[in-house]
Structures are given as structure tokens and as C-alpha cells.
Symmetry: C2
Subunit: 382 residues, 2 copies
């Protein structure tokens, strides 16, 4: 018997109630039944995104919504500013380049978070920038970026701010209307606790004002087509019905817990994980680690991939490093349908695996440190 | 108690084994477990598409794969020929126009099928055409087009032939390599018996030769990125994991039944449906009706929508007419996880609903006619 534990940064574990909802016989989407379901989902999505406007939904993975944000708001040759601090920051630049935009990069080393003043300075030097692209939670490094600070810099300019919140929505607070973020992009397989295959884009009035004059070509990812359909509780093209059925359940779970409690839970799990790995003498990779995923440097002499593989052999799926980080870091995600004891499972597995690999481990040390965090929280001591 | 019967042209009913497979705890896609699953799916997809090359897969609905076929093979300003005989033929033209292509249309009235000689003649008049777009089974009208004949005309030219097989793959024979079709596009929610959210494109060598010089912009739908990933049993971006898990099961079911038997079953169900509605004095809408879906003219004085709604009130979901066909036709689908008695259910429902609407019905007439077809088949009398 091999029991499996999933602590990778997406797909994340799916609650039984969501799996059961999706396992019901499928319904047709051009029916009053689907429309009633979608009307409810629409409303709950706005609460989750903390926005007044509609949240557009696509049958796609998160990258599809990133592309949608670009093609609906920009024209060939437009200058854009991209904050790059990891693989997903780089993806913004890659999509922009594929569409013939002029990319100005604000680069920070992997593991660092951008200083909003650097974004403000870059915008001052390039006033014609039409859009700024940033990553809230950079999954490849575990770093969180100061979106509130970046938004304060961007909202004074004509540029729109587009944020990849794929691993931050429902993990850390992102009040998009209050902060002045123009497009928030998300996916289903992270804190939404669903399988991959749904992507979202919430769009501000400032971003909508761009759409009529944006000349990049688009069809499947057209904001206008989706907005027209959504007003009738429909999608422009066949929606991923079973995932929308699951989405209703996962939104119920999130909103019943309450956003502040959801954010506090993720913060608590992240602090416990950090305390645990640090108690083993390991070093965090991110300077400002986020609550979605903890990236840890592989100790000297041990390949990060060996840790990842050792965990898998014990039934625990975490993630290794991506691209240039391969072998150098490993990543424990604690996002979505994850609770205290799941984090302890990951830490216990880590102790055993590091021991197998010859790293000196005081057994139980990481669990003790994590319990300190979790126990304090229970007594209301933040 | 309301028991539901789904006979609409997608989503179609999902077999219990597929629902159960998708209801298992989700697996991560960057794992040997997913790669083994996908290796099996890759092989089975080639058998289903009857092609030698890889079948590319996207997290999207079918329209996404239609867009993919266009953006990976063409350049701005290219001339293309589009066969339009319904809503989905029109969609090819709409996507091509959104991408700045010069569209030459070969139009046939709704309900008719194109004469391949008309395609050959149009190609002779426009020798610079880079691609021909056709629809195998036009879901909006129930008509099937002669793809073999069109392919024979196109393969003599430099143009590639791109076929929307969204409601024909796994319904009627489409040996793409043998006929010389260059791109076959399909979706998950039709004969594949899955929820919507996976789209496919099988690509011939002639179409692949276009990709390096095709200048339309693309990122999420990049053939090159998917091909590179698929060789490692991966996807370029996060795949719709739960649907791929279901896909393995549905491909097992289809290939265990055997493609010839699957096609024969769809043909039998379609003939039984046609015999049934004709026994009620109703008229078929398509001149060459396909095996996926039977479109029927609403009888004089009865609005098609009333039939559709009456069926829904009795628990049976069929489809009405789309666009200009709204109210004029209704459509009974018999595709995917559908068997003899499902067709009889639809016909019995239709008799009751037509009776309610004041149409003179001889009760049982359509069932008798359909049973004649189904019974003959059982005794091997085609």
C-alpha cells in the first residue's frame, strides 16, 4: 500500500465534496440548470477576486488567461514593462514577445522580490509603456511581490497593471479594486482546489477601456465575446462544465471559511513550514517568501532532485526546481485544501529523506518547530 | 423524481467508469505516473485519429483547437478557402477573419452538403489558397460533408486541408492519413464521452512543413511547444489532468469496442432515429444527415423551441436550432455513450411532446419504425 500526499504547487488536493460534485452525470450548458449554476459562480467569483466587474472564465490553463490579458488590451509594437523574477515573470515576457510587443524588463534575481520604486523608476524613463506585467506569487522561487506598492506606482500612469495571481488568489490578500490592479489572472488548480482547465481574468474599467482599440488578433480568448455571453450566464464557447460544477463547490468552501480565515490559514501553514525547514538548518530560497509555496535551498552536497525523488518514493509529491533552479531548490506547497497535519507530514518526510541522503538530522526537530507555530496560532497568539 | 436523459450534441453522457476515474484524487502532471498515463493516451489517440503523427492536446474547448490550426500554419494576408454550410463552417471564417486572413467562401445552404467539385473549382480559380477549411459533421444542421472527396481535390494543390471533426471523430470513419487530411480538430465532449475542456489537433507532415514559416502570432496554442513537450509525455502548459485521466478510460472503451463497431453503432442509432421521426411524418433537415445528430424540421405551426422545452420538461435534453435555425429545427444527438434504448427514449418523448402540442401522433409509430432498424441490425441484416 502506498498512500499519496500531494504538496506540489498545482494541481493541489481536491476536497471530496468537489470530486463528488464533478462525478455527477454531466449537465448540458445551454440549459436553465447550468445558467442558474453559473449565475451563482459569477457572484462568488467577484467576492473571491474582490472586484466589482465580472470575472471572465476560459476553458484553458492559467497561461491561456495570461495570453488573454495581453491580446485584449494591446496592439502590435506597444511597449510593455515586465517584472521578471522567476519562470512565470519570464513567461509574461515570452508571450509579449510572441505577439510583437516591445518588452522592457525590470529584472530581479531569482528569489528576490522587486522594489516597487524600481518599477516607478522604469515607468518614469519609459512613459509610453502601455502595460506593466507582474507576478504576485512567483511559484518558481516561492517569492511574493509587493503588488500594492507596484499598483501605487502604476495607477498614476496611463499604463494598466496586469498581475499573475495564479498561485496567490485565495492564498494572500489581493483586493484588486482597492489597490488599483487592472487585470488579475488566475487558474483553477491552485487555491481554488480544482483540477486544471479553468482560467480566469478579472478586468478593471481602465483595462476594459483599452479593449476596443487593442489590435492584437484574438478569437478564443476574446474578452468582448465572453463578456457578452456572461451577461446571459453563458460562455462564448463550450465551457468546461464539470470544472464549473466543481467550482461552485470550491467557492462555497472558500467563502464559508471566509477570505480572512483562508489567508490566515495559508500564512500559518507557510510559517510552520519555514520554521520546520529552518530548524533542520536548511535555508529558505526566497527573500520574501509567500504563503503558497516554500522554496528551500538543497543543502551543500545534496542534489535537490534527490530530495524530490526521495519524497516521492515515500508517497509525498512536492516539487523540484524549474529551469536554472533545477537541482538547487525544492518546493513544498501548502495551498488550497491543505491543513496543519499535511505540513507536518511533509516535514516528517523531509527529515527521513534527508537522513537517507546522509544529511545530519535531529529527528523531530522540524516537527517541534512547526508545532510551535501551529500551537501558538491555536491559542490566538499570532 | 426527475430522471435526466442527455441526447444533446455535446456535452454527451459520460460512462460511469470515466466519471469514477476522474473522481479519484488528482495526480500531479510532472510525475512518472502522469507520464506513463500520457504515453498510453498518446498511442491510443493515434489509433482513434487513424494517423501516424502525434495528436496534439490542449486544455481548451474545440474552438481553441480550431484557432490553433489557423495560427500555426498561416501568415497575415494569406488566402484561405472556407466551406460554410452552418454555424461551425461560419466559425472557421470568423476565426480566419479575426486573424487577418483573406477568406474565400464556398457557401452551401444550411442543411446541404458541399459538392467536392465546387471546392475543386474554387481552388482552380484561386490557386494561391494556402488552406481549405471544412466541417466533417456540421452539428448545427446535422449534415455530413464528403471529406474524402474534398481531400482528393485539395491534396493535388499546395493548400492544406483542415477539418473540424469535433462531432465526427469516433462517430463516422475519418482515416486522415489515408484520405490526405492535413489537420483534424476534435474536442472531448462529443464521441469521446468526456466533459468539455480538452481539444485535439492531429497534424500531417504537409501541415507541419508550414509551421516554421507561419507568421501569425501564437503562444498558448503553439504546435511547436506542444510537440516538444509531448515527446517527453508532457504538455507545454499545465494539462487538464482530470480530463486526461478520463480520456484514458474513454479511449479504452472506444478501442475495446473497435472503431468499425463504434461507427456501425452510430450509424444504426442514426438510422433508427431518422426512421422514427419520419414515421411521425416529420421531415429531416439535412440532405445528407450524419450519424452524430439528427436535425428535424419543426412541423408547420409548431415552434421548434416548444418541442425542445417540452422534452426538457420530461427530463430529456435535446437541442434546438442555433442562430437562424432557432425555432425551425430541433436536434436529437446519438453520439458517444448512447445505445439503442436511449434513442427509443427520445422518440417516445417526442411522441408525447408533439401530442401535447396538438400535432397528430399515432402513438408508438416512431418506436415501431426505429425497432425495425434496430432489430434488423441485431440479425445482421444491414
Amino acid at each position: 500500500m502506498m498512500k499519496h500526499y500531494l504538496l506540489a504547487p498545482g494541481p493541489t488536493p481536491i476536497p471530496p465534496a468537489v470530486l463528488q460534485a464533478m462525478a455527477q452525470p454531466i449537465i448540458h450548458h445551454r440549459t436553465p440548470e447550468y445558467e442558474a449554476l453559473f449565475a451563482e459562480v459569477r457572484q462568488d467569483l467577484r467576492r473571491l477576486f474582490q472586484c466589482r466587474n465580472e470575472v471572465l472564465m476560459f476553458a484553458a490553463s492559467g497561461t491561456g488567461a495570461m495570453e488573454a490579458a495581453i491580446v485584449n488590451t494591446l496592439s502590435p509594437g506597444d511597449a510593455v514593462l515586465v517584472v521578471r523574477g522567476g519562470k512565470f515573470g519570464e513567461r509574461w515576457a515570452e508571450i509579449c514577445e510572441a505577439y510583437g510587443l516591445r518588452v522592457i524588463s525590470v529584472d530581479v534575481p531569482y528569489g528576490k522580490s522587486v522594489d516597487p520604486a524600481a518599477v516607478a523608476a522604469a515607468l518614469a524613463h519609459a512613459p509610453a509603456v502601455a502595460a506593466v506585467f507582474a507576478t504576485h506569487s512567483e511559484t518558481s522561487t516561492g517569492a511574493v511581490h509587493d503588488i500594492q506598492g507596484i499598483a501605487a506606482a502604476v495607477r498614476r500612469t496611463p499604463a494598466i497593471l496586469v498581475v499573475d495571481a495564479i498561485t496567490s488568489l485565495g492564498v494572500v490578500d489581493l483586493p484588486m479594486d482597492a489597490w488599483g490592479v487592472d487585470i488579475v489572472v488566475a487558474g483553477s488548480q491552485k487555491a481554488l482546489m480544482l483540477p486544471p482547465g479553468l482560467a480566469f481574468a478579472a478586468v478593471s474599467d481602465k483595462a476594459w477601456a483599452r479593449v476596443p482599440s487593442a489590435r492584437l488578433p484574438r478569437f478564443y480568448f476574446s474578452f468582448t465575446a465572453e463578456k457578452k455571453a456572461i451577461e446571459k450566464n453563458q460562455s462564448a464557447y463550450t465551457p468546461a462544465v464539470s470544472l464549473v460544477v466543481g467550482l461552485r463547490e470550491s467557492l462555497h468552501l472558500i467563502l464559508a471559511e471566509g477570505l480572512p480565515a483562508v489567508f490566515a490559514r495559508h500564512d500559518r501553514l507557510a510559517r510552520a513550514t519555514r520554521a520546520g525547514v529552518q530548524a533542520l538548518g536548511l535555508e529558505l530560497f526566497a527573500e520574501h517568501p509567500g504563503a503558497a509555496c516554500t522554496a528551500v535551498k538543497a543543502p551543500t552536497g545534496i542534489e535537490g532532485g534527490a530530495i524530490f525523488k526521495g519524497m516521492r518514493a515515500r508517497g509525498i509529491t512536492i516539487a523540484g526546481g524549474q529551469g536554472s533552479m533545477r537541482g538547487k531548490i525544492f518546493r513544498i506547497a501548502h495551498m488550497g485544501y491543505v491543513a496543519d497535519f499535511d505540513v507536518l507530514t511533509a516535514l516528517a518526510g523531509l527529515e527521513l529523506v534527508l537522513g537517507d541522503l546522509g544529511y545530519p538530522v535531529e529527528r523531530g526537530a522540524s516537527l517541534r518547530a512547526a508545532e510551535e507555530v501551529l500551537g501558538h496560532q491555536e491559542r490566538g497568539e499570532a
